[in-house]
Point group: C2
Chain length 205, copies 2
């Protein structure tokens, strides 16, 4: 499936606002580099999925892709390991000031994060309100009821008030830039029994 990939919307208000004040992807890359270099966690952004149609070979040493399209990601943007736990998350920006529109997250990404949870992993979404300069970590367990409400025909977004109730704010710092693992630390402390290698019953294969 060919999609209109959001990064190209240069005239879009979201991106322009982001450039002024914050860039979630750049901040997360800096954060993950910091975690990696200080041996705290190994988290990487996955490459953007691209369907290659034509490749030309101007020389034997260099292949040049001459026709390709952005495709829908089948999972989330980031995953890795932290203190022996599998962690997996999606990062989303919105210029909205009062709510987070759920159409920003693909249904298969929600399903993927729910599977991660069922297998003893840590799944969440990082939501940046660019106009408010506020960033939340929303665990998949907390996201699920709102997503269910949305696909059942209810409200298509999570209000800022709802997010303040069920999500945690990530502080903006120097190093790490966005210490989202501080939120994960608190979550692990409360959910230790349902996460990690001891939490799942080995399935007969």
């Amino acid at each position: 499936m060919t999609i209109n990939y959001p990064i190209k919307k240069t005239a879009n208000k979201t991106i322009q606002t982001a450039k002024r004040g914050m860039n979630l992807e750049a901040d997360l890359n800096l954060t993950n580099e910091y975690y990696l270099s200080t041996n705290v966690a190994v988290v990487h952004k996955k490459p953007t999925p691209i369907k290659v149609v034509n490749v030309s070979y101007p020389s034997r040493q260099a292949a040049e892709i001459t026709k390709a399209f952005y495709t829908t990601p089948s999972t989330t943007d980031y995953n890795g390991i932290y203190q022996g736990y599998y962690i997996d998350f999606e990062a989303k920006e919105t210029s909205n000031k009062t709510s987070f529109p759920l159409q920003n997250i693909h249904s298969h990404q929600v399903e993927h994060l729910l599977k991660v949870r069922a297998h003893g992993g840590i799944g969440f979404v990082i939501i940046a309100f660019t106009s408010l300069q506020t960033i939340f970590v929303l665990m998949i367990d907390a996201l699920q009821p709102f997503y269910q409400r949305h696909i059942s025909g209810g409200r298509k977004s999570i209000s800022l008030e709802e997010l303040r109730d069920v999500a945690d704010v990530v502080d903006y710092g120097l190093a790490p830039r966005l210490d989202y693992l501080a939120v994960i630390d608190r979550w692990i402390a409360k959910n230790a029994a349902t996460v990690g290698s001891g939490s799942t019953t080995p399935k007969r294969r």
Copy 2:
């Protein structure tokens, strides 16, 4: 860094041999789909990293990439979660009949797999000898001494005899096609103390 990505070598003997008898990537995709659909594990192949140079917009709905290059992957091809454990691996084919050339694996991939191990994850390489129709799972712990020998100026490959000593053969089946998790099950049983969420000391942050 622009590289000559191996998938383009259509005249290469490795690929031709692979097409005749086996295709490791296709077999692993089938295997991972089986693991996912039977709720055994959540493992996905990462998209191939591509650096986009030019994008054209023939219409507002479809962006077409008109110039791009394959780039060096910064990590491995596959990762995911199995029974609460983080797993991470690279898959390599060789048409060689007597040894596995270590130049097939990038040094930063070895370093990445060693970091995964240090953080309580399960890291390995799946090696397919296409001419021999034999597939091995080589754990990163077992690979490391051979890689060290290589970068210290010693032998540039792991001989088949050495692999038979330190790696496990993956049986070729119908469903799953390549049950590499059977090898991982045996490895976990022997290495339980060094893997998973209980194996690492939380690092002060």
